[in-house]
């Protein structure tokens, strides 16, 4: 019995990593410069996006995707 593996192209990985970097910058920017605590409501989205990008990068580095 073999498991099917989904292959993700190098371009997708690069876009994912770029998006992750951008999300990190936005996260730091909000934490550093926010004038209202309401901006912190974006943290869950930014963090989960960042985590997804990091996971994609790690999997690509280990040749798992």
């Amino acid at each position: 019995m073999t498991r099917r593996t989904t292959h993700i192209g190098g371009r997708t990985v690069r876009i994912g990593m770029l998006t992750g970097g951008l999300l990190l910058l936005v996260l730091i920017g909000i934490a550093w410069r926010a004038e209202s605590a309401g901006w912190f409501l974006l943290f869950p989205l930014l963090l989960l996006g960042l985590l997804a990008a990091v996971a994609l990068g790690v999997l690509a580095a280990l040749r798992h995707v």
Binding site: W32, S36, G38
Partner: protein, 189 residues
Amino acid sequence: MEQQTERSKVAVRWLVAAVLFAAVAYLKRGGLLTVPWSTIVALTAAIVVLNATYSVILRTSAPRWLKYVTTGTDLIIISLLVWFTGGSGSVFYYTYFIVLVSNSIRYGMPMALYVATVYNVAYVLVLLFTPPSGDLTIEAVKILTFWGIALYAGYLAMRFQRQSRIMQSYEETIAGLRAQAAGPKGSAP
């Protein structure tokens, strides 16, 4: 399994509620808190009613949604307590970590993410209603630290769950091999 877990959470909730009530009452008597007694009593009554309701539900079964409801209400009540006792400077801020650790270890990564998200939203609302006097960056760091701990606790719970599954399969294999080695009674020559 989930029913047993939620039952133990009910027991822990009684204990934590009693300790928190004693702490609030002590600080109030010493003049260190300005929160009115009516608020303290209302919050305590809310915990008592909710916990008693969970106990009744858990007598028969544990619905799949119950763990999210109990965790959500715990975080909301803690947020109210934090809000009434000074917002970001409240001494009860660290109570959030009891809910985080207790649920993340029991239910794993999805629950850790749920706790962190609900905490994030609830604590931001507390900050909006009682704006802190200092720099908001400190509050951002507090929220991000909470996320870090949630992710790490969720990861550790995930590893523990995987190891438990492996251990269970080993035990089943050993039991099967033992049964094979013993063979049917009276079959030996």
